[in-house]
Subunit: 438 residues, 2 copies
């Protein structure tokens, strides 16, 4: 038989069941949390008109778009994130009343150079509140961030918050120009925790062309210490008016909520959080698992008051959260909060011979109707083979219907962990197993 | 502000929350059913190498592929279905032990001419058992089909089963050539319920070039009547050897399982079921909602023993089910088994003024921690506006924290349906609402 070599595209991957089983559990928890916060689901197409996506991600981002001409000679592209499609949707449908809160879990595509842990297709999970400029919305997003991690079972985490207006105020203080120059400096500051102070200083001087005084001004700002209240008081002294002042006021309002929610032990002000993206306009934040700091931020987000206006023609404020699904899953597995698994069922119903196979099928049907998940072995293979199948899948129980048991209206239930075997009347099987299966 | 017109590509659509909320409920039920049958989740990339997809869907299908050249000059295409990617995965990963049963819910893309109810992006939901040629596997898929509909609350449905080998046997009997000619005739037979006998006869004569005797042979076959057992006995007389004989034997084995599962009232033999796709090799079937026959089949599938071999180099038998997600959702809404909805929460926590907003946020936090889903209005808008927001979203309760209530450690709870209002101590609020909210 001639064959085509089975393979995936470079930079793409299959999620096999061992990964998908804990991933689905994680996503079910995440969706439940979103819904408890009244976020509603939304789904947008994978393909958008290129003009919808263009000009939103900077030159570098734009070069990574999977764009092509479709059969109708339209320039189209696979979505790059979930935020721009949300902005389009909010502008497009008048029936969506504001404030509007939605979540979306879906893949995005970026033609990046593949490297360890970086793929060209990956899933994003975003939640956003659209239509409120009030810090109450930002606080709601931070409360959500904490609940997501709480519900996933993470005990030890920290969320570090900053405000882009404060960073921009700092840029004005040290005379860095708005726009490209500022964006470059902020991107470098964002790398500080990864690359260290020395390398950061070098980049600020050589790449952004800052003077020693300007660099010193940045590190003076970044070295502001103390708890959140102390930091805010020190910032009061630095910014008396303009955007920087507004940023400090926003942070103070935000932390009133944080304290009322008793989240001030988890959420702290970190003046070095800058976020890479240039559409943020206010609050920015990142969440870290304290026991796994090496894997980087597992969530992040912020306020972007300018993006929706591009489609709407008038400014619509918005604030959001984005979860790094793959990184979070990796973290939860490493923390043993989730287990990789090969099966979603704990019970295998075997087939003794072709003659009795329909009878076995009915036993499986009874179990399922009784709420016990089970696999039915589809064919009369040797029993040893069927047992090995159950063991490889990590199942706990195997049901065997030999001719004797069948004659007595019973089945043999074997506990694969202990090796114990028991004859159980068919009618009692659901009760017997539902008490034992987790 | 200059703006870009917000719009979706022709043939694509957004799923707004009113549709997504019941859709997510439906999918959660479907996933739970798949898992009770021990099907494990799988996820494959949206983009595949073109050579993986080519030659699988016939000339017409292939012309609908969204294919393009990627940044690395590779010919790639968006997936057209979930079956070919499954076949690739089974051939690619030795660690997947057979029999392997997986489900996948994901969008596929076909550049069809858009028309009412037909889109270029739509979701498929597939379940397959790979690695068993035994009719026990086909029976398992049919049991699953029934459970999916049972669990979705559909009381009145029918599943019509046939076998491709029987149809091929018929083609040999009336001297229609294997391959292109046979495929054309079967595609026409498949249209019979839609276009009627007269038009079918016309197509068979004019398009497939059949003689009057050949057409008569087909309708003689299709008019075989009686219950399943009677039909099988009549087929025994028609097919004494060859593939047709094997098909009848398979059907007889399959219906042994159907009877043992007491599903013979729901699953019947229908000799006109042919399915359009040419990769089916044995059992084929379609499921219909009896109260909504106009919407067509809501599920369908069958056995395809040849497809995986294209990637594996040796034959691997497989049988599967495919759910028409959109059609099913439409049906469940029409049957009032699911409701369109604008909100996933029944409770809105309002904000009385900026000063007390953090206190309101804490009330929302208490409710959520107590398991009561609620929305927190993000900002101190006029109360009337906040109430209208709750009404538009179809919520049942609104919480108000006026200064008096706050002083007393209470909140006002207003039932939007009855208009009744009650002051409830903060500490009793979770209990008060969790008893009332569905």
């Amino acid at each position: 038989m001639s064959k085509i070599k089975p393979r995936v595209l470079k930079g793409f991957r299959d999620y096999l069941p061992t990964t998908m089983i804990p991933r689905q559990k994680m996503l079910a928890t995440i969706e439940a949390t979103f819904q408890r916060f009244a976020f509603v689901p939304l789904m947008t197409p994978a393909l958008e008109l290129l003009e919808i996506l263009k000009g939103k991600y900077g030159a570098e981002g734009e070069s990574l778009l999977y764009s092509f001409e479709d059969q109708g000679d339209r320039q189209v592209a696979l979505r790059y994130d979930l935020t721009v499609p949300l902005a389009r949707v909010v502008a497009q449908y008048g029936e969506l009343t504001l404030p509007f809160r939605r979540y979306q879990i879906a893949p995005v595509w970026r033609a990046e150079k593949p490297q360890r842990g970086r793929f060209r297709e990956f899933s994003q999970c975003d939640g956003d509140i659209v239509g409120s400029a009030d810090m109450a919305a930002d606080a709601e997003i931070l409360q959500l961030a904490c609940s997501l991690l709480d519900d996933l079972g993470v005990a030890n985490y920290t969320i570090q918050v900053n405000n882009c207006k404060v960073l921009s105020g700092l840029m004005r203080r040290i005379h860095v120009d708005e726009g490209v120059a500022e964006a470059g400096v902020l991107r470098t500051i964002d790398k500080l925790p990864k690359i260290g102070r020395e390398k950061t200083e070098e980049l600020l001087k050589n790449e952004s062309g800052l003077s020693s005084e300007q660099v010193a001004g940045i590190f003076e700002f970044l070295s502001i210490e103390g708890d959140t209240d102390e930091k805010l008081r020190k910032l009061d002294g630095l910014f008396v008016d303009g955007g920087g002042r507004q940023g400090v006021d926003e942070l103070r309002q935000l932390f009133r909520f944080v304290r009322a929610l008793s989240l001030d032990g988890l959420i702290t002000l970190d003046l070095s959080i800058a976020r890479g993206l240039n559409y943020y306009t206010g609050t920015v934040y990142e969440a870290f698992l304290r026991d796994l700091s090496g894997i980087g931020a597992v969530m992040g987000g912020g306020r972007y008051d300018g993006l929706i206006g591009v489609f709407k023609g008038q400014e619509v404020p918005a604030v959001g959260i984005s979860l790094g699904i793959d990184r979070l899953l990796q973290g939860l597995v490493e923390l043993k909060l989730l287990e990789e698994s090969r099966s979603v069922a704990q019970v295998l119903v075997t087939v003794f011979d072709a003659e009795s196979a329909p009878h076995s099928a009915r036993i499986a049907q009874d179990l399922r109707r009784g709420g016990v998940a089970c696999e039915f072995y589809p064919g009369a293979a040797k029993l040893g083979k069927q047992f090995r199948h159950a063991e490889r899948a990590g199942m706990g129980w195997v049901i065997v219907l030999g001719p004797d048991e069948q004659a007595q209206g019973k089945v043999q239930v074997k506990d694969l962990e202990t090796g114990a075997q028991e004859a159980v009347p068919e009618k009692e099987l659901v009760g017997y197993l539902s008490g034992r299966v987790g």
